[in-house]
Symmetry: C2
Subunit: 228 residues, 2 copies
Amino acid sequence: MKRDCGFSSSTPNFCALCDARERSVCAELTTEEMKEVSQTMAHLPVKEAQTLIKEGEGSEFLFVVVSGSFRMVRMLEDGRRQIVGFAFPGDYIGMGEAVENDYSVEALEPSLVCRFSQKYLDEMAGRHVGIKDRLIAKGRTELHKAQDHIVILGKHNAEERVMTFLHMLRKQLGGDEIYLSMSRQDIADYLGLRLETLSRTLTKLKKSGDIAKLEGRIVELIPLAESA
Amino acid sequence: MKRDCGFSSSTPNFCALCDARERSVCAELTTEEMKEVSQTMAHLPVKEAQTLIKEGEGSEFLFVVVSGSFRMVRMLEDGRRQIVGFAFPGDYIGMGEAVENDYSVEALEPSLVCRFSQKYLDEMAGRHVGIKDRLIAKGRTELHKAQDHIVILGKHNAEERVMTFLHMLRKQLGGDEIYLSMSRQDIADYLGLRLETLSRTLTKLKKSGDIAKLEGRIVELIPLAESA
DNA sequence: CGAAGTCTTGAATATTATCAATAGGGGTGG
DNA sequence: CCACCCCTATTGATAATATTCAAGACTTCG
């Protein structure tokens, strides 16, 4: 299955996509301010497997994912690969001006991002108080996600890691049926497991009924119990 | 061995301790501004095992570690404990005003912290531009540390995790001889290993010569090779 | 249809967790 | 000052789990 980025190249009221998610830098701006931002902002399609940001380089941009998904990859000295996170619509990508990225960011599928100039954002932050607060809040969110990841990796067995990962995806994406835009290898590198262990664990979870469906990259979880 | 917090209760020019570390919120303030901050700032001793911040509660304070060390503890639903990080002199502790902490912070030894009122800091940030930038930078540092932790946990065997952990401590504390202010259980909960596995791994590393010394909580690493 | 990549499965090995017992160290009270 | 206790850490033996190497199945795309 192939997915497109959900955007036909000349969508008129484009920022509606972002605003709907209400998490982006723009969310608190007035239409007047929005007009100002638009001048240095750009919407870009990103091809599958394309590298948006390279490990070790500085990035003069801050991105917001509009559609699609990304992996954050950190290469270890010995050649192994650790995925330090995934980014989904509404998430921020980018470290801050003049800061060297400690991971690469690569698209998992055809995606769409909103690009801001760090320099301009910084300059504009002087006039609009809320922007820095948003960046601080962004940092907190990222840190929180990283800590959830730490908790997953701290769990000692594969089943728990995989289930927690899937629950995380459900929470992030909404809905019990999940399309995995990342490969098994990506998931394994995220969970600190070998590819084969991950695969085996998924089949086991399917057989034991902990997962309702498992068809390639489509997974369906058991619905959460409603609390009255 | 017991350690004190390196501070006799009425030290005169107290902030020198902080400033020397040049990492705190104050570092960029003028003496004039510093005087202003001092009014809502307090230096506090923290007893060993004392909880500075409780998981699930909001904290109206931001802390900077002056001396000693802390563990950040996250309790899992099933009763297990994950340590999401350690804090050493110069590190920040606290999430931001009106934000629920997702971990508890407990002193590993008699320590000393510098306490700021979040509300006041926020209010003051309106007048002193640099403060918010510091908080953003702080967030980046924390995130970076969390990702280093993720990389450690992603490593598949115990020896690597332990060695990487020790190297991290060397980098943080400086010097090849390291005093471990945390218990074996703390380290195990940080590394996602069982207490016994950690203990065995340490002895193995000592025997194989990957560690120069191992006497209780004192560890000595092999010096790094000099590059000419 | 064939080829390349991705994913699953199998069997043997290695590593870690678990359960249990012992050893070491610090502090307290006789 | 020594004996004792409690807490922390080490060590041992076995079971559970993950890795490794190898082969085969499934997809997707040209």
